[in-house]
Amino acid sequence: MVHVYNCHPFASQQIVQVEQEPGLVCCGGGALFVVATGGCKVEAYNVEQEGCPFICRFATMGTVKSIQHSKMGDYLVTIEEKNSATYLRAYTNWRHQAEGKARVGVRLLGHLLRGASVRGGVQMEIIEIPLSKRPVAVACCPVTGDLLVGCEDTLVLFALRRQNQQSLNQSQQILQSTSQNSSQNQAQSPSPNQNFLDFERSVILHLPKIEPKQVALCGGYVAVQMELEVLVLKLDASSDPKTQEESSDTKKTDHIDDQADFMVLPRHQELLGDVAKDCDIPVSIENTGLEDGKGQYTLSYVLFRRFTPDFFQGCSVEETQLHSLQLYPLYTSNQSVPLEEPACVFCFFSLPNAGYLYSLKGGVELLSTYQYPEKVLKAVLTDHLLHVITKSALQCFTVRCAAVAARIVDPYIDTTMKACPPCSMEVCALRIQLFIGLRSVCVDGSHVILLSVADTETPEEPERTPQRRRLKLKEHTLLTGIFLAVGIDPATTPALESFLSRPFLGRKWTISSPKETSPAGHGWNLYVVDSVSPLTLYQEMVEYSERYAETNPQAQSLRHLLSEAHLFLRASLLRTEPSEQPRNIEGEAAETLQTDTDAPAERQTAAQTDRQEVEEALRHNCAQLGDCFSRGSQKDCHLALPYYRMSGLSVTEVMARNRPLPSSPHTYGPGFLFYLKHFLFEETEQTLSQEAADDVIDIFSQSEPSQLVSVCASPSMINLSPAKTLQILIHQEDTCGVSVLLTITMATMMLCLDDLPQYTQLMERHAEMLLVYRFIEEPRLLLHGGVGGRHTHIRPTRLTRQLAKSQPGLLVAAMVALHENSKVQLEQADHIFKELGCENCLQVDFWEAMLMASSQEAVIQELLFRLVSIYIDRLTNTTSDTHLNEPHTPSRRRPLKSADDLINSCSHYGALYPWLTVLNPAHTTSSQHQEALYKLQSLLCGPSLSVGSVVPLMERLSEETLWGFSLHLLCSTRRGQYDRSIEKLLDRCPQAIIAYANHQLQDTHMILWWQKLLPELCNRTRAASDNSILLAALKETLVVVAMEMSPTDFLELIPDDGTASYFLPYLLTCSQRHLMA
């Protein structure tokens, strides 16, 4: 189904004052070229000015069979016939041919010799382009101005050469020096705007099996259209000629074989991309460029399409013929035209009943198929519209080129950030404008040029005054015809009949009739129909859409119309980069003749204002599309988000747009809820006002109560009114039952209301572990910001602050759970505790708890280090012999876990070595100090701490105190420095030595008993023989040594000066044990 809207893309029409019946018409560069029927004369008119004034007239050298204008180079190319011979000619500098009185230079291709032009006078010049085969079709490249000529079985590409003025002057020197009037020459310097053009034959493509009807050329793409086939090729400049030759060779032979064996039956075919080489049209390439720096060209297949006559019902075989082949470039606004290749290239061709638009770059694909309501004679593709003519109407269809280009320009399209209507969206007819006897159409910028010729059998009524009425009548007939065609008889439907009786040619259609009406009776007219600006058309479509919106806001048509309007604006934004057009060569040529040139700066600002207007319109349109998708069905509802984002509307504005009318039953659409959820759950920086936040609560309590908890937890909702929300939450609990998350949320509201008793009551409703699980589910109850790896600062919620005060254990457990579930990182948690002002208490509790829970080695080592450092801090900042004198300890709260708790429950905390109890003071220190000491000792006794890494930290502790000594001793022991440790221990605390030796000197270190400890004790008792501690230690040592050694070895150890009787019992024990063994 093709939508037919009745928009007004045309503002006005002018009738061009042509004297003779036009035969051929073409346009370009702001000019309209008319070749009189059968004539050898071209007349040029300015379509940019009111009344299309005559520019100039010039004669051609033969009867023009075909004429084309090239925007690049501002030249015309013709296929002409004279005395049964066919010629190809290019007409340059035609703008200088005022009144056809000046002499016209003629030369062959390549013979760039200047006559009058070089001497100063600007002269029109005709370049004759000799061809070995008869030319059938020509096309000019809109990008480069190159020329493609289709002959019977070849396509010849001519590169446009623009001659440098200086080099040209040099080449003219010889000629001028011989000239008699050389003195005059110097007085006249050539115009700098001179357009010296020439062509160079660069490539010949041999297509022995085809008869081209039309050709097209655009930035390396070559298209050729036969009666029922279209082939698109791509020519690329290549520096490696070898590969190309090989490939073309193999291609050739293959095809010859094929043809020999099979008779090929034509069938409907569509071959895209490389596959197109499987079409049975062999192409070989012959490079002919001489001074072409580009080197050789290589060829690739892009698209092949073949139709069979019977494929199309409703058209006779003769009528099934392709026409209107076009390659169309689209530049994007960030490109500098014409220096760069266009961002997109499209290929259009048409059958009488259907048109096809392909996108060629970045993968060939069929964009749109145009189903025409009646037989189409010719079609022209433009940025915004496809214009087609039937015998009686100009029809405008929408195009999808902008949708393709937008996606090339902006990779964020089709994400949650940005959207654009899809390339595959169905096209529609915007307008069917009636004309009588249309023959041809061409388009230049916003001007559509139409030639109408009334059938001679039915002469047109001569009087022209009631034109409006007549047109109306015709339109009625046509629309009736359309309805009949789709199976509706308007006569049987009164509503339709009254609809048809209304005038369709609305306010915007003005007809400026010529000052002198052309002599009555000539049955032809040449119209220049001006298009309205895209913005104006957009505004009309918006008005149009409002009518849809009133009746049925969810209708597909509304969305479609707004999407079409969107693409209109996109198309004009793609093209409105200022100052890209006037600087082209043809522009310069035109400027020399047109005096009304503005200053470039003025033009630029005007273009910028235009652009701003279009951008503003686009935002407005995005808002409307957002509305469409927000209210629509589930399908595509996610598009509301990117469109609203592109609209620049604030969330409050979007909410206002989606507020249902008090009377209407309709609720919030899924698209709107999707948008709102995305805003609340993903974006953390925008805070809603209380009013807006309350609205959001209302919206969700109505539409999605299950989301209420998450909504309340959103940082954007921080200003919501707690009392109101609490009521809604209570209601929610009443209807859906108690849930932990709901309870926490209600508690949060109580907190906001400063109702601590109620808060406490609610928080006590559930076990702490259950609460922890829910915090994992909804971390934003505790943490705002920093979610999803965003760069925003993480911060604690009000609930977190309260928990730190009233339930620190719960908070620590929750933070550990969040960390272990990757909801928060260690640094973020640190930040939270810093914000809470409990770096030295809860944070340490958190680290201790993390040590218990975490299994990540890196995290464990980091925490161990941090804890050692914190314990050392505590030990140095508290004094060991005062109880309450702790001036700069930030918290007096006891740590959540005591040393004993940690030793019992955490594997990283080891049991204290027994000898430490001898060293540790009993209860002479503060509990904080003692706890810190035990914890540090426990870590040093534990299996995980790498002692080496904390040695630098330990240096802060003095060995003066016994507890300090104990820590250093632990370190040196852990590092295997037993000899030194034994000595030190004997120095400082000999009563601990046996406990130490019993615990430490085992297995491989057993040897130290007699190698180190025994000699050491002997020495020391010798010095202080009355030291009972040392003597006791000596005795214990001897017992151990006697147990472990052979009697002979033992004898050896006994000091020479010792009393035999003292050692004898041990020796005896040793001998007895030895004998028994």
Partner: protein
């Protein structure tokens, strides 16, 4: 409205400096410039006129007479309907070269029946007092070479210029009527009419 328009290509040949461009300018714009540049390559001007009820567009081709421009001018001889062989009465060499010009034209224009092709001979600069070529000599040459009409012209004072061109047109038209070969330029169907609506499928 006139419906039949013929485009007649008339080419001016002759030595450099004999006044081909001046003749063309005199005929088309009715002006004379004693200090015209040498023509380089080929140029043309159109003139509309009505001859014996025929609307005719006369396309007058002016060529570079100097030898070194030969390659630039010869490709455009093809398709000419009439050739004006021009010499200057004060330059006998230009008269002696007429034969060469005729040969060059016939060779490059690819004229099928050279003996029937309409040539017109113009002896220019009759306003000059010191003549080197007499009227009789010129007439005799015309007689011997194909009975060409001969006109003594002066682009400077407009003597006989229009008459000579009128004669050229008349010659061409006479030839074409005889061969029934007036170019019917308006009979080309530029827009193929849609085939009749009676085709099978409609």
């Amino acid at each position: 409205m006139t419906t039949k328009t013929s485009l007649l290509k008339v080419i001016l040949l002759g030595d450099g400096g004999v006044g081909k461009s001046s003749i063309m300018n005199r005929y088309v714009t009715n002006k004379f410039d004693a200090h015209l540049f040498h023509t380089i390559g080929v140029e043309f001007l159109n003139k509309e006129l009505e001859v014996d009820g025929h609307q005719v567009t006369l396309q007058i081709w002016d060529t570079a007479g100097q030898e070194r421009f030969r390659s630039l001018r010869t490709p455009f001889y093809r398709g000419s309907d009439c050739c004006l062989l021009t010499f200057s009465v004060d330059d006998s060499q230009s008269f002696l070269n007429l034969g060469n010009w005729k040969k060059e034209f016939i060779y490059y224009a690819d004229v099928k029946e050279p003996e029937k092709f309409p040539f017109v001979v113009l002896g220019n600069k009759v306003d000059v007092t010191e003549r080197q070529v007499s009227t009789e000599e010129a007439q005799q040459w015309c007689q011997e070479n194909g009975n060409f009409p001969y006109y003594e012209t002066s682009a400077k004072d407009a003597t006989n210029v229009a008459v000579a061109f009128d004669e050229a047109v008349r010659r061409v038209l006479a030839l074409e009527e005889r061969t029934d070969h007036l170019i019917p330029t308006d009979t080309v169907k530029l827009h193929r009419k849609p085939r009749s609506a009676t085709s099978c499928c409609s």
